[in-house]
Amino acid sequence: MNLTLRIWRQKGPDDPGRMVTYPVSDISPDMSFLEMLDVLNEQLTLAGEDPIAFDHDCREGICGACGMVVNGVAHGPQKATTVCQLHMRHFSDGDTIDIEPWRAKAFPVIKDLVVNRGNLDRIIAAGGYITAPTGSAPEAHSQLVRKADADAAFESAACIGCGACVAACPNGSATLFLAAKVTHLSLLPQGQPERLTRVVGMVDAHDEAGFGGCTNIGECSAVCPKEIPLSTIGRLNRDYLRAVRARSGTPGT
């Protein structure tokens, strides 16, 4: 296949950036999207130009490192698929493909398609964990969990923290990520002691990072490679309402 790529090039955080057009030829439909970019980078390197910077690691859809907006859709046109798992057979010969980074104030561009997603880590650090002894995994049956809760928690635990939900959200909100993390822990017995302080801490960290507010549109869930359901946001809201009513964390009350 021969394609025309229009890619966002930005030298660094202070460069305003622009779209640059690159033709690529002889792309196999069996290549992944990232392999197609590897081909282009090979050409650029041989020509003495700066290759296009993009994040990637596992290339099997489980680490959450990769991510770019392809023709306006986070992770590209294939549902429930990270861009590293997106194959070129979903495109046709002669296509023009626009490639942009995640765009959000809370995700500043480091270079080209690489953005700093440290703010998602800051949200986790504000409560997305359980304070418990580490060590080897406990015996699975030592604490019983209802099957329905285990399933829903597991579904949320599948979030890989890629940030596509933010990229897709018209409000630039990270609420789906937040909701996945809160749902995962608040459905399990281990998550109960810190349940209310967790949700308040994480929501505050989210807002402080400069993410927008959720208006339940649903663009996030539509692009999420792990198909985190929109209903997790209801669980987040419910925990939050409970927490602000309970005034937990105020000693002696």
Partner: protein, 210 residues
């Protein structure tokens, strides 16, 4: 957003039911309208209840618009650099048009108050006989008034379709099955409310209410 929206919705339901009284004839309708001004009397002086409700609704509306403006500003700040290639929001037309739809509804409410409450834009403007005001409003030769009402009410329907679902979600609706129910319920409610409001101008237009 959700709490103020629900207050406004409660008003919309009551208002719609009240409007349907027009099908019982001029005497009934005018009597009902006059009763509205005297609810609470003689415990309260005449008009007090009405003004209480107006203040409450006005406050809810201002708080609602305020919250919407805060969300819109946060959204704008959250994405300082726009996408070059960005298709429209595809999951829901209603969700996409919440902000502009809200502005259209607010403009419509201003027009509507000038028309049927103060009477400034009404051809009859008889405070004691709202029935005649309504009938004059939707007369066939004033088709553009009906058009404005249709646009306002249909926009409201879209606003409520997403708004009702969103309010339930904001208040903690949390299961996928419940989500399907909430969406269906919001759709049915929005359609029913639109129909309940639209039937009045169309009945006048068709000569069923004279």
């Amino acid at each position: 957003m959700a709490v103020t929206g629900i207050l406004l919705v409660l008003f919309l339901i009551a208002h719609m039911i009240g409007n349907l009284k027009i099908f019982f004839g001029a005497t009934e309708f005018d009597h009902y309208a006059n009763w509205l001004r005297t609810i609470g009397a003689p415990v309260l002086p005449e008009d007090w209840y009405l003004w209480g409700q107006r203040i409450l609704l006005g406050a809810a509306l201002i708080a609602h618009i305020w919250a919407a403006a805060v969300l819109a500003r946060r959204a704008r700040a959250a994405r300082p650099v726009r996408y070059v290639h960005r298709p429209k929001v595809h999951v829901s037309y209603a969700a996409r048009t919440m902000r502009w739809g809200g502005v259209i509804i607010a403009l419509f409410v201003v027009y509507h108050l000038l028309d049927l409450t103060t009477g400034d834009l009404n051809p009859v403007a008889d405070q004691q006989h709202p029935y005649t005001n309504v009938v004059a409003d939707f007369a066939p030769e004033r088709w553009y008034v009906t058009l404005v009402y249709v646009v306002g009410i249909v926009t409201l329907g879209f606003h409520l379709r997403h708004g009702m679902f969103s309010a339930l979600r904001s208040l903690g609706q949390q299961t996928p099955r419940g989500e399907r129910r909430a969406r269906t319920g919001a759709l049915i409610f929005a359609v029913a409310l639109c129909a309940g409001y639209l039937v009045v101008p169309f009945a006048v237009l068709a000569g069923l209410v004279r």
